[in-house]
Symmetry: C2
Subunit: 229 residues, 2 copies
């Protein structure tokens, strides 16, 4: 997936880094269930490393907001709740809106062209009903715009901190999400605004897009489990 590769610039050189990536993948792909308590001795022996390295890896996971720790009690995988998902959408609306504005101002021409190609790929996969890869192409789209903002800290906050959570939720709700055609239309408008270098409009459209995505997710969650917190 282009998203993962492009977002992870540095190779894992140390054991703790490798472990961190392993555990992150395991959490994002549901191998380690949400809400589960992490037992340090258990995991350490399972992965064949010492507790020290594991603790360092857990520390990094805490930074990604994928686990929470309490002193003298331990770490657990985050749970998922509708309210937390809504919070994430609000933050994405603000930050990706800004990213779209900056991308319209700062993206190089070839980057804009690449963005347009992602859109074409998206359309092709819709026509062929490749539902499984539409999520990847969607991530690529958002990721490219974030990169285009050229704001290194914004990029880090979104790609490293927030999008892990997005993927965490997306993986667990993927069955419900099939808004690709509508999303494609909205993506189209955003790219057009970026091509016109209209930052104001790009931001407005991106915020609208993410709000629509939030509303859709909210409706789907209500349908699936109306009583769930």
């Amino acid at each position: 997936m282009a998203f993962a590769t492009a977002c992870k610039l540095q190779e894992p050189v140390t054991i703790a880094d490798k472990l961190f990536l392993d555990l992150r993948r395991a959490i994002l792909e549901g191998e380690l269930p949400a809400g589960k308590k992490i037992s340090e001795p258990e995991l350490a022996t399972a992965y064949g490393v010492s507790r020290g390295s594991l603790r360092e890896a857990i520390g990094k996971l805490e930074n990604c907001n994928l686990v929470t720790r309490k002193p003298n009690i331990g770490a657990r995988i985050i749970g998922f709740s509708t309210s937390q998902l809504m919070e994430i959408y609000q933050i994405r609306e603000a930050m990706e809106g800004m990213a779209a504005r900056l991308a319209a101002e700062n993206m190089a021409e070839d980057e804009v062209a690449r963005l347009r190609r992602i859109l074409e790929r998206h359309k092709a996969e819709i026509d062929q009903h490749h539902n499984y890869s539409q999520q990847d192409v969607d991530l690529d789209f958002h990721f490219s715009i974030i990169q285009g903002s050229k704001n290194s800290r914004l990029i880090r906050m979104l790609c490293q901190d927030l999008y892990d959570l997005v993927r965490f939720y997306r993986f667990r709700l993927k069955a419900s999400f099939n808004r690709s055609e509508q999303a494609f239309q909205e993506h189209n408008l955003i790219v057009a605004a970026i091509e016109r270098r209209d930052g104001e409009m790009a931001e407005t459209l991106m915020r609208h897009h993410i709000r629509a995505s939030r509303d859709y997710a909210c409706k789907m969650l209500d349908k699936v489990s109306p009583s769930e917190v």
Copy 2:
């Protein structure tokens, strides 16, 4: 300072936590100079703790973006650059704008009243030329609005991740910053919008306020050191 106390909910119970808070304060207040390399053995003996605890504390500092680490090479305190400061302002514009919108929608009446009182304190200190405490009152103002958003993740991202950096820069540039009267007027407008529960306007005004603050900082930096990166 109300900001620091209210933002730190949990007591430091573990050695690594205490060390983390100590080091964070030392960095924010310039005790440890920007850009300095951190020697683990040196610091560990200086604080009378083992390297393991120190490394855990450094990990937390890395999460706050106050130090950067490279494998097998070590950690160093972040440096400061105008471009990085501008990036932070862009992110604050987006996120605090959203926070102000949500605060207008979600703040309880007594919280709004408290906000108004902060403003009165601000005015009193301007009249008495208490420049040193105006920065604190400014932090309290922004912090209260962020809290008022009721978005727990937004609060965490701003208060824990971004505002450490704000304080890092503010401490090192405090001499140049004397925009309190203008800032007070802008704060006034924002509170008025929140009191009217006008989220749209609160966001617009907050974004304007932060952009004005950025422009001012930019101008000051140019005046002080036009050639600096």
